[in-house]
């Protein structure tokens, strides 16, 4: 991440209202450095998809500016389109056409032809393990295969910036894990910038180098997953001692531990010692060294980091699961529908 390179994606103060006075975006700011994976995290209806639609030239903002790969999305949508790959929630591969035919058409739309096109299509089929299914109509594909084809469609012209809108929504756990691995590999590719949206905390945490938490059409906080969680004062640190300490040992331990920088709320109870630390990982060596100094053996040590859920609670002012209740309702309806 060199500071001198222009951002791959930069959106400033995007505002978008849909008919019926629905404010989808209310001053959205996003900056993505080239070659990184950036996650927009938020519940359904937070404005993630609208942001992606504007950045991919599908929708126009009411106000605000955005550039993608250095091109203004409003003034030069065509240049933006050549530079981006888009994997939408519904990418709509033609169900009656085969996987290969879908890829060929997509390639042609970007001007690929002949041997170069055939080679690229073969590469992608191979890479996404679709070679065996290449001659079959897409309607017979499993959810995971379809999603892999969607990603392949987005990559056919070797884009600079790839947009993944809810890449694993609707996938079963196995397919989801496979997709995560695939996205992880993509992220390692030279120069590819990925902007992904998700409403899964776990997904953002696992895939994105930087995360922006979106709520009600704007970014409420942004940073690396670790820094976001680190801002919440206090990882929980738990230690288990080899043997229980007496009253004297307890006083000695407390006295030693409380003096350590960034360590608070030390509690010694028999063999169990717990504390809060500003940064659990940083505090751990200090703690272990302190135990060694006073001659108490440690059997086990764990650090529980605050989850993104805690981060969301702090910045959006409500629990993630509450904000996402819309999605839960839909799930409930789907379950009820399935039961009938």
């Amino acid at each position: 991440m060199s500071g001198t390179r222009a951002p791959a994606v930069q959106a400033r103060q995007l505002i978008k209202t849909y008919p019926g006075d629905v404010t989808a975006l209310n001053g959205m700011d996003v900056t993505v450095e080239p070659g990184t994976v950036f996650g927009l995290l938020g519940p359904n209806g937070a404005g993630k998809s609208t942001t992606v639609k504007i950045l991919t030239t599908l929708a126009r903002p009411d106000s605000g500016t955005a550039t993608v790969a250095g091109h203004d999305v409003l003034r030069h949508p065509d240049r933006v389109r050549r530079a981006i790959g888009v994997v939408a929630q519904n990418s709509g591969a033609d169900p009656t056409a085969t996987g290969r035919e879908n890829l060929q058409l997509q390639g042609r739309l970007y001007g690929l032809k002949g041997a170069a096109l055939a080679k690229r299509v073969d590469e992608l089929l191979d890479r996404f393990t679709l070679t065996d299914a290449a001659k079959r109509p897409v309607k017979g594909y499993s959810g995971g295969m379809r999603r892999r084809l969607d990603v392949a469609l987005g990559l056919v012209h070797r884009p600079e910036v790839l947009f993944l809108d809810e890449p694993t929504t609707g996938l079963d756990p196995e397919a989801r894990t496979a997709m995560w691995d695939e996205i992880g590999r993509l992220a390692g590719e030279e120069g590819l910038t990925i902007l992904l949206t998700t409403h899964y905390l776990e997904e953002a945490d696992r895939l994105a180098e930087r995360i922006a938490i979106v709520d009600r059409g704007r970014v409420v906080v942004e940073g690396t997953p670790d820094s976001l969680k680190g801002e919440l004062r206090g990882d929980a640190v738990h230690l288990e001692l080899r043997e229980a300490v007496g009253d004297a040992g307890r006083t000695l331990l407390r006295g030693t531990l409380v003096g350590l920088p960034g360590v608070h709320e030390v509690l010694v109870d028999g063999r169990r010692v717990s504390a809060r630390a500003d940064d659990g990982a940083a505090a751990m060596p200090l703690l272990l060294a302190a135990f060694e100094r006073v001659g108490v053996g440690v059997a086990a040590a764990t650090v529980a980091r605050p989850s993104l859920d805690d981060v969301y609670l702090r910045y959006a002012g409500r629990r993630y699961s509450e904000a996402d209740s819309n999605g839960t309702e839909q799930l409930a309806v789907a379950v009820a529908g399935g039961a009938r």
Partner: protein, 258 residues
């Protein structure tokens, strides 16, 4: 320019393949014309004896009408396909590529035109098999096919516009069901104009379906009335241009509403 042309071809080819891959569907769409030509045609065989049909074989009279009816009834569902592509996300996927926006719409028009031309020719051949006579020759048939393609373009474009505008299957189904029979019976499809009640005959003058029938039937007759052919054909062409323009406008408003 050549990019737009080749992209239009890719878009057309994509849709044609859907038609080609479903031969059963193509056969099903010909069931109705066959029923009109051979069941209805035989049932009402003697109707020509009333006079004014310009031929002694009811089948001769019926073929242009059935060709135009089929063009209408197959193209008025075009919006369903467009709606499906919107809902499936296909249209948005194309819109995020550099593909020419015109190619996306033109692909629809060209595809519908080719399918309509194919169906029209098949119906003409079926009529020939059934013993129909086409004194106007190949030229007359070509004019009938052209008129039915224009008619199909009008209703295909309107149906697409409706699909993009309302985004509901029910609305398309409702409007089509509402329109199909009145348009059919307020035309010269089954009855010579001179035998029609006068209010129906005059209403039919404003019915594009009837324009296609009049132009095609006249061109295929022994003594074509070129004035009729040109006036009806010109009206169809004008309306087709207007309908396509309207669907392009609707497409733009769809893009704004995404």
């Amino acid at each position: 320019m050549s990019t737009a042309v080749s992209q239009t071809w890719y878009m057309t080819q994509r849709q044609l393949m859907v038609f080609v891959r479903q031969p059963a569907f193509a056969v099903i769409t010909l069931i109705q014309p066959v029923i009109w030509l051979f069941l209805f045609g035989n049932l009402f065989k003697k109707v020509v004896e009333l006079g004014g049909f310009g031929t002694t074989s009811y089948l001769d009279y019926l073929v242009p009408g059935v060709v135009a009816m089929s063009a209408l009834s197959s193209n008025m569902w075009a919006g369903m396909g467009t709606l499906e592509e919107i809902q499936r996300g296909t249209l948005n996927r194309f819109l995020t590529t550099p593909v020419s926006r015109a190619a996306l719409m033109n692909g629809n028009v060209v595809n519908n035109g080719l399918v309509t031309a194919f169906q029209s020719v098949v119906i003409v051949l079926l009529g020939l098999l059934g013993g129909a006579d086409y004194p106007g020759g190949i030229g007359g048939i070509a004019i009938l096919v052209a008129a039915s393609v224009l008619l199909g373009t009008i209703f295909g474009a309107l149906s697409n516009a409706l699909g993009m505008l309302v985004r509901e299957r029910e609305s398309i189904i409702g409007i089509n069901t509402f329109l199909l029979l009145p348009l059919t019976f307020l035309s010269s499809a089954f009855m010579a104009p001179s035998q029609m009640p006068s209010w129906m005959r005059h209403t039919a003058d404003f019915n594009p379906l009837n324009w296609a029938m009049v132009a095609g039937r006249s061109a295929m007759s022994e003594h074509p009335d070129w004035g009729d052919v040109l006036s009806r054909g010109g009206a169809l062409l004008g309306l087709a241009v207007a309908a396509v323009w309207l669907s392009i406008r609707t497409f733009r408003s769809y893009q704004r509403s995404v």
